[in-house]
Each structure stands twice: as C-alpha cells, then as structure tokens.
Amino acid sequence: MPVIFEKSRCGRSAYAVPSWELADTDPIPAAMCNDGVDLLEVGEVDIVRHYTALSRMNFGVDTGMYPLGSCTMKYNPKINERVAALPGFTSLHPLSSPALSQGSLEVLYDLSEYLAAITGMRRFSFAPAAGAHGELAGVMVIKKYFEKKGENRGVILIPDSAHGTNPASVAMCGFQVREVPSTAEGDVDLHKLAAMVDDNVAAMMLTSPNTLGLFDRNIVEIARVLHDRGALFYCDGANLNAVLGVAKVRAMGFDLMHINLHKTFSTPHGGGGPGSGPLGVSDELEPFLPVPVVLKGKDGFYLDQNRLDSIGRIHSFYGNFLVALRAYAYIRMLGPEGIRDAGNTAVLNANYLLSLLRKEYNLPIDRICKHEFVLNDKDMPNGVTTNDIAKRILDFGFHAPTVYFPLLVPGAIMIEPTETENRETLESFAAAMIAIKREAESDPEIVKSAPHSTPVRKVDAVLAARKPVLKWEG
C-alpha cells in the first residue's frame, strides 16, 4: 500500500487557512525561520480514500473475536465514544481553574471511588498513561516508601511468569530484579520464595490472576511471607477482569496495584494506545501517590499539588482523562451486578472454550482457569509451530491468541475470549483451531505457509530488522 506522501500533487489542498490578512507587525528574524516545509499536498478525497483503505487492512474487536491473552480485548461500547466526544470534555484546557473544571474533576474523583470499591484500595491516581506507566509509578512509590522509612532495600522479586514490563519498570527505578520460580502447577513456589525474602527485598510484583490464567492458591501466604519481612506486595492488575466482584485485590494482601482501563474497563486499545494505567494504593501508601491528587473540599473538587511525600509528577497534566471518562461511563452503565457478571462470564467463557480445545491441544497445566488459559504446540504433528497456528487462525477470520508468552511455557498459546463473545463465536473459534490441527496432520504446508487470505501475506520481520527503513524518503 503506497503511503500518503506518494499521493501528493502540487497545488492540491485539504485545508483553507482563514484569510484575515493580518500584517506581520512583529516579524520573527529570518535566521530563526525555515525556508518552507515540504510535507505534502493532497485533497480531502485522497485522504478519505487512503485512510479508509488502510482501516480495511486492520483487524479490530469490531471485525471479529480477538482472543489475545492478557490483553482483555472485550467489546468497546459505542456509547463510550459518544460521551468522550462531548465538547464540554474535549475542549477543556488542562490549566483551566478548578472553578471551570468541576465536571472533569468529579469524574476523576468518583472513578477513583469506584475503583476503590472494586479493589479495596484507598485511592487511585489517573496520571499513568498506560499499564507500564502505572507499574513505573508503583515502583517509584515503593522506593519512596522505604526511603521515608530510612530503609535501604535494593531488590524486587518477580515471578518467572511475569510480563516483560515488570522487570523493565523495576530496572528503571534502580532496583535489582530477582526471579521467583513457579511450581509445575503454576503457583509461585512458596518455599523458594520464603528463602528469597530478606531485609533487602522491597517488594514482589505479581499479576493476579497470573499470566497462566490461574489464581495463585497461596496468595495469602505469599502476602504473609512478604509482610513479615516488611516488604510490599504489588499487584499487576492486567488480569483484573477475572475477579471483578468476586474478590478484592486489597483483601488478597496487595498493598498497591495498577489497573488497565483499556482492558478491564472496556476503553478501546486504539491500535496500541492511548490506554490508562491508574495506580491504586492502600491507606499507608496514599501519601506517596503522584501529584496532583483530586480531592473534594467544601468548595468543590480541587487538585492537591502540595503533598510532601509524593513521588512527584509523572505526566504533563493528569493522565489520559478522556480514557478515564470512558471507563467511568462503563462502570456506571454496568453497575455492581453488571461488573460482577462481566467477571463471571469472562471466566465461564474461558473455561468453556478450554473444554472444547483440551482434547486436541496440549494443556501444560490442567486446572480450572480464570479469564484465560495457556495451551502449547507440543502435540502438533509435522513440525507445525505456535507461530504457524497463529498465522493460520487469521485465515479463519479470528485474531491470533498471544503467542510465546508466558515464557515458562514453551510455544505458549494464550487464549482470552472475554465475556463479550457469545457461545456460537466461542464454538466457531474452537472449530477453527481444531480444523488447523487436522490440517497440520493432513496438509501441514497450508498451515506453515499461512496466512493466505489476509491483506498481506506473511510479513518478513527479519528483513525489517536487518535493513531498517523507518521513514518514507520518496
């Protein structure tokens, strides 16, 4: 597909600058100016055709089932887009005074209360613009907490099943990462953990339910082992969807967590952002939240900037406000029963899909799963791999599952159907996966050379990395 620059023709235009004919009363010295910018010249029709064509080369949740494990690709309600486009919200300048911003401040304040009700945490900050940003802020809180206590702890523990962002966030704050092994049944190895926790351990980060889609049965003991030595327990909330209305994260013993609003609370992923990764903390950690914090006073809502123990500012303004607004609308729409139903149905759907696939695909850890489960390619005949399956499923009109993650399962195929897929869709996905298995037996080439019916065929990633071309040069 040609890029938009290739459609440029001299003299075309899709923007008319108002002709107010103002004199340049205060010219900028010529030496500071450029000699003109050569971007492109295209008409509005060219633009519309180009981006409409591009959109048709994309697969989204609205196109079909998107069972990308740990990404919670649930349906994004259309009403959320409408509310987030209201001019009262979109046109509000972030440095407007609190008197002009009461509506937005109320949304942020109440959303923190709702998330607190769901998780048991004390308060949330919406400054983090994504899950990884929430983690980073969380690790900064951990660092500040121990600084304040006058303790010098240099290690953060992370299970071998963790997302890559966990160790990367830890490293960005100068902590050392130590990896905690999992048992063959997919729980944290409690004995090994107990031996690793000492006075140099600041915290452990754990995704709950974990990235195998399993609820760690020893969660209470893990928390106890950590707390007994004064360490904190961080919850990566990427998989919160599974326990909505079923159990509170704070009650499990976690001291702080981030939530991915773009996963659990249905805000669109946008082709890779904008997300929102609010950080929630216990009472004890509340003073360390990033500034500003939205509070309610006698004259209405306000931004509290003067917080002595805060980790400081982490965003230009207050995070991705319009994303938080969508999550607010979603929670108000669902109410307490709907939130619980979302979690329950997500788990029901995952277990049902697992029941349809387990006879044909190897299931490394056989337990009741939560919102997702992990298969692998161990039983695939004729050298068909996880990557081949991922590419072939695209031909059946589904997005691929998450592949080769978590790292502790070789050839992992991680499937998360979410609660918004109905029974027929789950069954047709299972039928497609089983059909691929049959193809692998009878006609493996068709699987290995997939995809065949996508807008482009298998993309050469090796060439892209070997000879990087990162911009169009005409």
Binding site: Y15, A16, G88, T90, S316, L463, V469
Partner: protein, 442 residues
C-alpha cells in the same frame, strides 16, 4: 445495560461441557475468606439514555470558554476529516500491531507518523510516539544518559514547569542529577550554561519556543553542549511552530522530544496527549518505544512491521531501553490525518498563529499591559497584568480561559500571565479579549 450474552440455557450447556454445576465452582481456587459475598458498593446500573443524561450534566459542569491558554496544550481547529476517519473502529478497536498481516492499517499510519515527525523536525529517526511531552523528555534524557554513561543533566528554567517536575521524578528514580539553569531576559543564560557544563554532563535540555513563549538560540546552545561532549536535547510543546521555525535537525539538536497534541487531538483536559521522540540516526538502536519499519511480505509486496524489537521489554526485560510497551497509536493516527489535511499549509497557518499573537500582544501593550520580555516569539507571550489572579477570575466570569498565571510557577512573575493565540482566536475575539482584560483590570 451490559454487554455479555449468555442466556441461561447456553450457560447450562457450557457448565456441562466444563464439568461443573455452577459458575461459582469456577472460583473454587480462590480461598473462601477472600470471596466477596456482598454486592460491590457501586451506583446502580443505568440505561444508555440515563448515562447520556448523566454525562451531559457532568460535561455542563465544565466551562471550556474562549481559550487563550497554551502552556503545553493548544486549542486548534480540527478538520472534520480527522474525526470521520479516526473514528473508524477498525483503527480504534485494534490492539498493538503484533500480527502484522492483519494490522497494516495501523502500521502504515505509524510509518507515516514517523515520516511526518522526521520531515518537520529534520531529525533522522522518529519513534511511533510516547505517552506525552513530559515523559518523552524524561525518556530522551534517560537515553542520553545510557548512551553517554554520564549522570548529570542541565535544563533551563524556561522549561515547562510540569516537564521539569516529571524529569525530576524520573531522574530521582534513576540516580541522575538534574541541574536547573537560570534564564536571562526570558531565554537561557548562555554564560551560566558555559559555566555549568562539565565532563559529567550528559545533556542540555532546551525548550523552544520556551515556556515563556520566547524563541531560544538553539544552535548556540547545541554548540556549547557539543563543545563539552554533551547531547543537545530540544523540547517542543507547540509543534505548529515547526511550520515556521528552522528545523531542530539544522540547529545541532541530537534528540528532539515533545508534545504533538496540537496536531489533530483535542486538549481534553490534558489527555490523551501525544509524545514525540526523534533523534539523529546514531540513536536508532537505543530509542525507547515502538518503531515501525518497511519490509515485504511472502509475495514480495510492500508491507510494514514493528521492528528492532530486541530493544524492548518483552524481549530484553530488565535490560530493555525502557519499560514502554505501547505508544499513543490512535492519537498518532489523528496527527497523521491532520497533517495530511494541513499539508504545506502548515506554513501559512503557523504564520497566522504568529500574527494573531502579535496582534494580541500589541493591543494589550496599547492598553498598558506590557510584555515582560522583548524577544521573538511564536504564538505565546507573557504579559504583566496587575493583580493578575483577580483579573483572571473576572475574565473567567466573562467566558474566557484567560491564559496561564505565571505566578503559580515563578515567584518573580506573580503578576504575569502567559497568553496564547491560535487560529481559534479570531482577530475579533482577540480584540474582545483585550477589551475584557482592560475592563476587568479596572
């Protein structure tokens, strides 16, 4: 209202297939003591009709007004084509483009975004975008420190105070030292800079136009940085200025970062924003964030893919260049559509922005509200208004967002406000604003 669809008979078939009797059995692995028996303490469910009313009422509690505030978030005209195309759900309901074969729309648009950023800035390589301008700066500084192995960073005090605060937060976490240089008459004091540069300096950070709206002599600052073997990092918060001003790539800038919200994204109370990060070619393999590269498919057809991923956290984990795992994909798409529509008209639009600001500045001066700096500026300038907080409050009552009070950030500028004009403040509205400032000052 909810979005699940498992009627009871489906549910019993599914439970039967799983081999359990009740949905509750699926949570048997959660210790009993943790199980929530009571209903969540949330407001009751609402219908779509009720939600719309509720949220319209909340929106009505905001008063966006006629905006003369800039300072890192800019109100510009949004061509209808931006919303029309960016609201196509194939774009906004997709995930990060890991499966390139079904993500060519997103990937091509990001490749175009990288191209636009390079064309506008004159830099060699740009990434797929960052969270916002402030974190883009923090990541730029971390990259400079990693590449140089040095631990000290210099920044002028005319850097956006929020950017400075975010940079402080990141520097503290990473054990880097941030030193703030005073400005002289609204721009970086180059003699103070010369005195502060030493062998430990990784980078010098300059915002241009700076927070006061003044234009810096970036080439001179870059020269001083290079003489001390430090990187020159430039921050831009109003990228429309690049339509008129010399490209940072021609001013010796090594790393360019900043905010591109003003290209096609609403101010939206500050987010989502759109961070940009671009650099000289030598930084390519040390950049944080996503990069999209051009390649071919199995039939030899042009295609795009995420590339150089060995820099990233999902492969390198704690040794990654950053923990960043997403970009602001949809905001970048909006910027691409906006810039496609604007095209080479970015130059006359930038000129118009400057002339409108000049009109406002001259009018205010004629009424006795004098600018505090005598420096070239783009579309923002600082002006002294006695009892600024009181005057601003009155202006708010008249329906204006009257700029940003500098006294909130700089003790020495207690009676000064930062005023911004764009094509959204017409000459007539500027005249009305100047009249209102005079009236509210009486």
């Amino acid at each position: 209202m909810n979005y699940t669809c498992s009627p009871d008979d489906d549910c019993s078939v599914m439970l039967g297939s799983i081999g359990v009797r009740d949905v509750d059995d699926l949570f048997a692995d959660i210790p009993d003591a943790l199980r929530l028996r009571e209903k969540l303490d949330l407001p009751s469910a609402l219908s779509e009709i009720e939600i719309m009313r509720l949220i319209e009422d909340l929106a009505a509690k905001n008063r966006p007004g006629r905006c003369f505030a800039g300072a890192g978030a800019y109100v510009h005209y949004m061509p209808a084509v931006v919303d029309a195309l960016a609201s196509r759900s194939e774009f906004y309901t997709a995930y990060t483009p890991y499966q390139a074969e079904v993500s060519q729309g997103t990937l091509t648009a990001i490749f175009e975004f990288q191209t636009f950023v390079c064309k506008l800035t004159g830099m060699d390589v740009a990434n797929a975008s960052m969270y916002d301008g402030a974190t883009a700066l923090a990541e730029a500084v971390l990259m400079s420190a990693h590449v140089s192995g040095k631990k000290s960073v210099l920044a002028g005090d005319a850097l956006h105070p929020h950017y400075r605060a975010v940079l402080e937060t990141y520097c503290r976490a990473n054990g880097l030292e941030l030193r703030i240089l005073p400005s002289a008459e609204g721009v970086m004091d180059t003699s103070a800079l010369a005195g502060a540069l030493d062998t430990a300096t990784a980078a010098v950070v300059t915002q241009n136009p700076n927070f006061f709206g003044c234009l810096e002599d970036v080439a001179v600052i870059s020269g001083a940085a290079h003489a001390a073997k430090a990187h020159s990092i430039m921050v831009v918060t109003e990228p429309h200025s690049l339509g008129l001003l010399a490209a940072p790539g021609k001013l010796g800038v090594d790393i360019l970062c900043g905010e591109a919200q003003s290209f096609g994204n609403p101010v939206g109370y500050g987010g989502p924003a759109l961070g940009i990060l671009a650099a000289k070619g030598e930084f390519m393999r040390r950049m944080p964030g996503r990069l999209v590269g051009k390649t071919v498919d199995a039939d030899g057809k042009e295609a795009y893919a995420l590339t150089l991923q060995t820099r990233e956290q999902h492969i390198r984990r704690e040794k990654a260049t950053s923990n960043i795992c997403t970009n602001q994909g949809l905001c970048a798409l909006r910027a691409v559509i906006y810039l496609s529509a604007l095209g080479n008209a970015i130059r006359p639009l930038a000129e118009l922005n400057h002339r409108l600001a000049a009109r406002c500045k001259t009018l205010l001066a004629s009424k006795g509200f004098l600018p505090i700096f005598d420096r070239p500026y783009f579309n923002e300038f600082a002006v002294r208004i006695k009892k600024a907080p009181v005057v601003m409050k009155r202006l708010e009552e008249e329906g204006f967002v009257p700029g940003v009070h500098l006294g909130d950030y700089y003790g020495e500028y207690a009676d000064c406000i930062l005023v911004c004009c764009t094509e959204m403040t017409s000459p007539a509205e500027i005249d009305a604003f100047a009249e209102a400032v005079a009236r509210c000052s009486r």
